[in-house]
């Protein structure tokens, strides 16, 4: 019986090794694809004159949909920042999703908003709209006050009232850089098949924000937030760039993405019964376009930036990662017929298997692996040289991938101009392998358990709001 137990542990250990090499090989390949793309992309940017694009009058009208729930700390600042964007033709539609706090009143007061009439352009089902408001000061600012229905429901309500060919979803607590809209809309000009584009999300904690504009970029002082900076660089510059090159990106961050309205409405709008509505809509667009033989492209561009506040506490992070993992599982299970299905091209054959086997099941294998590892070591059934060699390999592999992400950042956009911040990022690439990664796996494992228990809790971290004129975070 004991021997059988050890055999099971042995099989599990083989699984862990396969998982480890598969995951890191994928990371290695995506990093290689990304570096090739970014070198070309930076050169490409030199042929683009943003001012000229704006002056050309060729930019498509955009509606910015900003769902807000209990955002009293930051809704006014972030809306003000949205109103100063450098784009010739856009509307801002803030959707107050039945916030019990002062979000609605603050918005009404700050922007001198009055009740208005606006005919919906689509008929996606949503919770009841209480009132539509329009700002007297800013004719392009609208506010929908509706009963609570969740973030996806709020976006759907915004979509119902959206009248432009493109819409951009942005979190009410995020800040867009002034030229972010013109930059994120460029793929729509360059390829008419484009149906959705994501921009990069950067962490604002630690940076100086004044009047809704990030003036000075600094690494956060909080260690957890610092780890997330590195994590975001890796996820966006090494990961999403590559998946976008393969037209197989499954995620456009809910904090900043630009979509073709007609395609999203035809696909049925955002799913309200998942906490991962941002991933779900992208997967559904892939599916909708492939099944209806609509030529399409879903892209990612690394230069338009949305700044967002990240959680700085263990509790906040665990909630966020739990929610992300649940969203991932819900989406992948919902569309599981795409898995390894050639009908869905690169999405079904490459991206889906990666997300399904490595991202969705990853935490189970990792956390299980830690226990199996500890047991085997304690029982003295492992060879010390092997264990040391494999641990060193894991550490160096992880470090190399993170260092590559920092190199890509320095090669392309040089987001962190201080040498000390760059040095810290390199140090973080080593340090994150001991502690942070393991904690992350546990939080994601919690997400797996929550998904199995069909928990629907949103798990929002408390917001501090952007601190004007001083470092945030």
């Amino acid at each position: 019986m004991i021997e059988f137990g050890w055999a099971v542990v042995g099989v599990f250990n083989v699984l862990i090794l396969i998982y480890f090499f598969s995951l890191n090989s994928v990371y290695l390949i995506t990093t290689a694809i990304s570096s090739r793309f970014l070198v070309r992309y930076v050169k490409r940017l030199r042929t683009v004159d943003v001012e000229q694009l704006i002056a050309s009058g060729a930019t498509p009208p955009i509606t910015l949909i900003a769902p807000a729930y209990n955002e009293e700390a930051s809704c006014v600042d972030s809306t003000r920042s949205l109103l100063t964007l450098q784009y010739p033709n856009y509307e801002v539609l803030v959707v107050n999703d039945g916030s019990p706090d002062r979000t609605l009143q603050l918005m009404l007061d700050a922007f001198d908003m009055i009740p208005a009439v606006r005919l919906p352009s689509a008929t996606l089902e949503t919770a009841k709209i209480r009132q539509v408001y329009r700002s007297k000061q800013y004719p392009n600012l609208w506010l929908l006050d509706k009963e609570n229905g969740g973030k996806a429901d709020a976006i759907n309500a915004g979509l119902d009232y959206c009248r432009t060919p493109l819409f951009c979803v942005i979190d009410a607590d995020s800040l867009l850089e002034r030229d972010a809209l013109i930059r994120v809309s460029r793929p729509f000009l360059e390829d008419a098949r484009t149906v959705a584009v994501g921009g990069i999300i950067r962490i604002v904690n630690g940076s100086t924000v004044r009047h809704g504009v990030v003036e000075r970029v600094r690494l956060p002082r909080n260690l957890l937030a610092r780890f997330q900076v590195l994590e975001y660089l890796r996820a966006f510059l090494s990961g999403r760039v590559a998946w976008s090159e393969l037209n197989a990106g499954l995620i456009i961050s809910g904090a900043f993405g630009l979509f073709r309205r007609s395609v999203v409405v035809d696909a049925g709008g955002y799913a309200t019964e998942t906490v991962g509505e941002d991933m779900e809509i992208v997967v559904r667009i892939h599916r909708h376009c492939r099944e209806n033989r609509i030529p399409y492209r879903i892209g990612f561009v690394p230069d338009p930036v949305a700044w967002t506040e990240c959680p700085e506490t263990i509790r906040g992070m665990s909630r966020q990662r739990d929610r992300w993992q649940r969203g991932l599982i819900e989406t992948l299970m919902r569309h599981r017929r795409m898995l390894l299905n050639p009908r869905y091209g690169n999405v079904g054959l490459i991206a889906y298997p990666y997300f399904f086997f490595l991202e969705m099941l990853g935490p189970v294998i990792e956390v299980g692996g830690y226990f199996a590892f500890a047991m085997t070591l304690l029982a003295g059934r492992a060879s010390l040289p092997y264990v040391v060699a494999f641990l060193a390999l894991a550490l160096l592999f992880g470090m190399a991938l993170s260092a590559a992400a920092v190199a890509l950042e320095e090669l392309s956009f040089r987001g962190y101009p201080r040498n000390s911040d760059l040095a810290r990022l390199i140090w973080l690439a080593v340090a994150e392998n001991v502690g942070y990664r393991q904690m992350n796996s546990f939080w994601r494992m919690q997400g797996v358990i929550s998904a199995a228990r069909r928990v629907k809790y949103w798990g929002q971290a408390p917001r501090r709001g952007f601190r004007t004129g001083q470092a945030s975070g």
Binding site: A116, V117, L189, A392, A407
Partner: protein, 364 residues
């Protein structure tokens, strides 16, 4: 001999292999860290050097522009290795300046442009596009043959950059090359392309009319021609647009997206430049199966139709699509039927909100 890792029996030589991998990744990690440092040093040095150069060139170029300093003085400051950067520097000036000052900048750039033209032979599409942009901005006349040739470049980025450079010249001689190359831009957004083509000015109208009329060309290209003619207010294009609509209405198959785009573009053109005699065709479009076509038909009817058409536009208020409803209420407002809209707004009609919105002047 075997050993074990976590209870899995493994041959000894695997340990050597893993050790080798560790060494490889150790060296790779160190190399990457060194790369980051090297990139930072390079970036900082480059940025400082550029700053230094600009500080040196800036006062002299201003002196040259106001005629206080000779051009030779500026050329003397440009070392051979800085020539490409100097051209970039001039490019930034040229986009901000007009008239005689711009001509001076263009003259200053000329001696460095042959080196830029050689970049058109590079393998990288991005480099070729950059060269086309520079040549197009700084001396399109001398380099017209190269830029026209770039319209056929396999890289869409190079082709569109060449298209933009040529369109901004507004030269009648270039219209034919550009219009003949429209299919090279098939991936680009039509709104963007029509804005680019409209830069050609009225000289482009006959060629664009021919494209719109030519049933052999793709529907997307014809829609692009119609959009551009609309921007250019081409009064002579109305009859062709109506013929396109008649031919489209006669098609019995389900309209493709490109076909719908062509119909919409033709209706917009009729709305802008159409005449009373075209109203019959526009009325028939009100029965189209596609809501976008019906909406544009309502718009066009409100523009070219007369009092007899008001009942038809009123009827569109009951259309199943809110888009068509909005076009209808806006059309009625444009035709001065405010009383009707006020009655509608005061009623319990399911579309009363549309009237209220248009009367409040907030409809976008």
């Amino acid at each position: 001999m075997t050993d074990s890792l976590l209870g899995i029996a493994l041959p000894d030589r695997l340990l050597w292999f893993v050790a080798l991998l560790v060494a490889v990744f150790f060296v790779s990690s160190l190399s990457l860290v060194a790369t980051v440092a090297a990139l930072r040093i390079r970036n900082v040095r480059r940025s400082r050097r550029w700053q230094r150069l600009e500080t040196r060139w800036e006062p002299v170029i201003i002196g040259v522009l106001v005629g206080e300093r000779p051009e030779a003085e500026l050329h003397a400051l440009v070392e051979r290795r800085d020539q490409r950067y100097f051209v970039d520097f001039l490019l930034r000036y040229s986009t901000r300046l007009k008239g005689g000052e711009r001509e001076t900048v263009v003259r200053l750039a000329q001696r460095y442009l042959p080196a830029i033209a050689r970049q058109l032979e590079r393998r990288s599409g991005e480099r070729r596009a950059r060269a086309v942009r520079t040549l197009g901005e700084l001396d399109v006349e001398t380099y017209t043959p190269q830029i026209v040739a770039a319209l056929r470049d396999p890289s869409p980025l190079v082709a569109i950059t060449a298209g933009r450079a040529l369109a901004q010249q507004r030269s009648p001689k270039l219209v034919r090359s550009l219009v003949d190359s429209l299919e090279s831009f098939e991936l680009w957004d039509t709104r963007f392309l029509s804005s680019l083509l409209a830069d050609l000015g009225p000289e482009a109208m006959p060629a664009l009319r021919a494209v719109l009329e030519d049933q052999e060309r793709p529907a997307r290209t014809r829609a692009l021609a119609a959009n551009t003619l609309e921007r250019l207010n081409d009064l002579n294009a109305a009859d062709i647009a109506v013929a396109v609509l008649e031919a489209g209405a006669a098609t019995s198959t389900i309209p493709s997206e490109q076909h719908v785009d062509l119909m919409v573009a033709a209706l917009r053109l009729v709305r802008k430049v159409g005449r009373g005699e075209h109203v019959g065709t526009v009325r028939r479009m009100l029965a189209a199966s596609n809501a976008a076509v019906r909406g544009c038909a309502v718009d066009a009817l409100a523009s070219v139709g007369g009092g007899d058409d008001v009942p038809l536009i009123r009827k569109a208020i009951d259309d199943e699509s809110n888009w068509v409803v909005m076009h209808a209420v806006r059309g009625l407002k444009a035709l001065g039927r405010v009383d009707f809209l006020q009655d509608l707004a005061a009623s319990n009609h399911p579309r009363a909100d549309a009237a209220r919105e248009v009367l409040a002047g907030t409809a976008s």
